[in-house]
């Protein structure tokens, strides 16, 4: 039965790791703007722009 103490300890440590990951993500500002990144990722990369320009 004493294995239970160890296992619970480990499971809590794992959970704590996720909690700290969450705290870190909040502190680093990832939740500040949940909109702009979704738009930003759809922009074309720089090199393609010039091609588009010429086609127009």
């Amino acid at each position: 039965m004493s294995a239970l103490f160890v296992l619970i300890g480990i499971s809590l440590l794992v959970a704590l790791a996720f909690l700290f990951a969450f705290l870190w993500s909040v502190r680093s500002g990832q939740y500040e703007d949940d909109y702009t990144p979704s738009v930003r990722m759809l922009f074309e990369n720089q090199p393609n722009e010039n091609n588009q320009q010429n086609q127009k």
């Binding site: 959970a15 909040v26 703007d33 949940d34 702009t36 588009q52 127009k56």
Partner: protein
Amino acid sequence: MLHYPKKTPAELDLTTCYHCGADCEKHPIVYDEKPFCCEGCQLVYDLLKESNLCTYYTLNNAPGNSFKNVKRSGKFNYLDEPVIAEKLVRFRDDKQVHITFYVPKMHCSSCIWLLENLHRLHNGIIHSSVNFLKKEVVVHYRTEGIRLSEIADLLTHVGYEPLINLGDTEQKSPAAAKKKKNYSTALKIGVAGFCFGNIMMLSFPEYFSTGNFYDQAQLKQFFGYLNLVLALPVFFYSASEFFVSAGQAIRQRFLNIDAPIALAILVTFSRSVYEIVSGTGAGYMDSMTGIVFFMLIGRYIQNRTYNSLAFERDYKSYFPVAVSVMDDAENEKSVPVSDLKKGQRIRIRNNEIIPADCVLLSSQTHVDYSFITGESAPVKKQAGDFIYAGARQADGAVDMEVSKPVSQSYLTGLWNNDQASEKEKQRNQSYVDKINKYFTIVVLVLAFGSAATWLFFDPSRSLNAFTAVLIVACPCGLLLTTTFANGNMIRILGKNKLYLKNAAVLEKLARTETVVFDKTGTITSGTQVRFSATMDFPEATVYAAALSAQSAHPLSRKIAKTFKGEKKFSVTHFEEITGQGLKGEIDGNYVILGSRYFVTGTAQTDNSRETLVFLMINGAVAGFFTFENTYRPGLQETLTDLAADYNLHLLSGDQDAEKERLQPLFGKNANLLFGQKPDDKKNYIAELQQQGHNVLMVGDGLNDAGAFMQSDTGIAISDDTNTFSPACDAILDGSSFTRIRSFLDYARAGKKVILVTFAVSLVYNITGLIFATGGTLSPVVAAVLMPLSSVTIVVSSTFFTSFVAWRRGL
């Protein structure tokens, strides 16, 4: 929010501006085979094309901002003053500086794209990134590469003028202060959720224990203490705001909804600690953390505000940050407003706010006190006159001598009248608070009653019963219902372009039975200009347009816009006499445009209520312009619909020329008042309130600020939600004007939803109470009841508010 991307540039015809999408009117500037409404737009296009930034136009159609209001250059020179710059800068080292600009004009993905490619417009800029929801752009730039004022100018040049205001400079380090505030909600929810989940898991053995488990007393104790440790951060950190809010309310001798909740949390926690430490039970830590977790989420949803629509911020944005001080040699120098000294000579330009009590040095000018009194009519001031801080300069540039510098807080104080918040407390005790009052009394009576009863039969159970009642009867059901229902309703209304300041507005809307409308800009959407010729002169209107294009007066602008001709005329000997009219020479013709008195020399006769502008060419009156309001489309139906169930009133600052046109629209019973000054409007609303009416004021602009404040609810109508007026409770996009009736009905229906859902949650409470008063509330019962009731409430309040909205076509 915005649709990405619509690549259909080919569909553009030659009538809408390629840059800003505005109507090019009759004669677009065609450049590079594309139409532009003005030179400003064309210049931006040119600039972007040079830098290979035309992707801007392929992401969205006509994404640019209009250049019709050209600002004077050098406006941002004050940013180069180290004192001011230091207040705005977020980070600085030897090589680079980071600064955040607030750019209210960004509105689409093209804007994001362009603002993040600023480095391609100027070498000095290293990097820029956008926070669209906050409408902020963070710019990193090289100290030796570009000056701060140049960045601000660059942004202005491409149509994204940054708004720099007191709010930014007043705080010592805005970035740091902001961070702390924003993080805490997410952190509290995160911590509460984490602890709740783990406590639930650790409590499972307790719920489903067989005899075996209890043999392991050691294990049971271990689980109990783990739960206790996990509950600590929830109790001391996540739940702290409930205690703070309850404490504040009690100190003001007032029972808010947080008070009984804080009590329930406190009792649950103490009893659980006692049970765990004494080994008499497992405690109710799971219920306690769960309740905190759900309530925090509800609060977060309800309080999610519209970052892009700053209700308070725009208020302050009119304040000057710096002002031009003139020295003896006529040199201009920017000085922060806070550093102004008595006796300094300052130069104030058109539309600027006068930042200190001053004496006018220039010969004459007009100022308006619309920011202070709401009165927008300009007041004439002569040299030597005293002008109070907060007035707005309505003419060109003038010089003044500072007679008493004022602090920024004084200026802010002019606006933010505390009166508003006090009024709210007195008049609007929310029905939630009322229910809560009775609820709390009943709970306390039950708790003491069951404790007293058990004292007679089995004293050992007495304390148990007492605490159990408090635990179960926690009014979190009521709180969850209101927060989730309100949050969802605010979201739905926002989707329909009615933006509420906070959840309290919903309740006030639901009580409305009297609606007061302002006229200009509220029920009218524009002006039609007509010219009545009294002389045969084919080019009369074109000349008038050319002349009035030189002036910034609103009437001149309307004339210029309506009658702009194909041919460009150069105006010589132009002269503007403020408040009277314009003079100039076009193609050798002497043209005068202005009031009847100014043009013809005879005074305006009393029987003409309309605004007339006269035109004289070469000494003969060529005709006059009339201005007729056009009403918003659908006004008739909207008003008829409203008139059936609401008392309607109209308060207009104009003369009653339109009364006969408007009375049938509003119905016989409506009261239409004309010639109302801002103060009259305010008093009229106060009078209605004294008769016991709940007044909704629908208006626009600064003129109505006083009326907004006085009314129970103030809705500002705006066709451009970026620029709007202060003191209102909600902003309504002009295009949704016809739905006012649906919005009011929806607010009422929402109140019913809340009451019904709360009644449902009471069923759970009563079930729990049956166990509790019996002194047999086991952790399992509490653990089942708590999430079951919470989830039912959350789901049903969200579902019903959405359903009601769907039924109403919102």
